[in-house]
Subunit: 123 residues, 2 copies
C-alpha cells in the first residue's frame, strides 16, 4: 500500500531544478513534482496529455497558438501533440500527471532531460 | 484546447456534498473535485486506482487493513480492489484522479451515487 505523501513537502525538498520526481502512481499514470525556474525546452508528447498543477508560484506555458499563465492552485492540461515550453520567472513548484510512458522533455533531449530511473529516485 | 482551471475555486462553488465534478481530463483519466462532509460508503473499484488530494480540510480514509488521515496538501492512492470509506468530520474539499471508467461509489449504489453525466455538468 503506498504511503500518504505531501507533494508540497517533496517539491520543497528538491535541490535540482527541472528534475521531476515521482510521488505516486495511479493506474498507468505517474504523479510527479518538480521545482522549476527559467525555461525547460520546446517539446511535445505525441501520445500523452500532460497535466500541470501549481503548488507554489507561477508558471507560464508557451504554445504555438497562445500562452497560458498559471497561478498557485491552478491547473492546465497540455493536449497530446501540442508543442509547449514551460517558463517560470521565479522559482515555482509544480505537480505533473502524465502516463508512465511519457518522456518529460518529449521529443527532444537536452541537458535537463532526466531518465525515468532518475525520476523514480527517493528524495 | 482545455482552459486553465482552479480546482479550489470549483470545489468552493459546489453546493451539493459528495457530488464529484469533472474539472479536467488527462488521457483516459478524469480530474474531479468534490465537497464532502460525513461519510460516503464502503466500496471498491476492482480495476482502477483512485487518487485523493486534499484541497482544504482533512479526510480520513478507512480501509479494512488500516485507516489513513490526510491533511490539506496531502495525497493518497487507494489501490484497485481495496475496500475503502472516505470520512470527513468537517467540510473538506478534495481533488480526485480516476480513470474515466470509474464509478465513484464503485461496486455499490447509494443515494449519493452520481452518474457520469451528473459529474460532467458545468458548475
Amino acid at each position: 500500500m503506498p504511503p500518504v505523501t505531501s507533494p508540497t513537502a517533496v517539491a520543497s525538498a528538491l535541490t535540482e531544478l527541472w528534475s521531476p520526481r515521482v510521488v505516486g502512481e495511479v493506474d498507468d499514470a505517474y504523479v510527479k513534482v518538480a521545482k522549476v525556474h527559467g525555461s525547460l525546452a520546446w517539446h511535445s508528447h505525441d501520445n500523452e496529455d500532460e497535466l500541470f498543477y501549481i503548488l507554489k508560484g507561477r508558471l507560464r506555458i508557451e504554445m504555438e497558438s497562445h500562452t497560458v499563465e498559471l497561478n498557485e492552485g491552478e491547473m492546465f492540461v497540455v493536449p497530446k501533440g501540442v508543442r509547449h515550453n514551460p517558463i517560470a520567472d521565479q522559482e515555482c513548484h509544480i505537480l505533473l500527471i502524465e502516463k508512465n510512458s511519457t518522456q518529460h522533455t518529449g521529443d527532444v533531449k537536452t541537458e535537463k532531460t532526466r531518465s525515468l530511473a532518475e525520476q523514480l529516485r527517493p528524495v
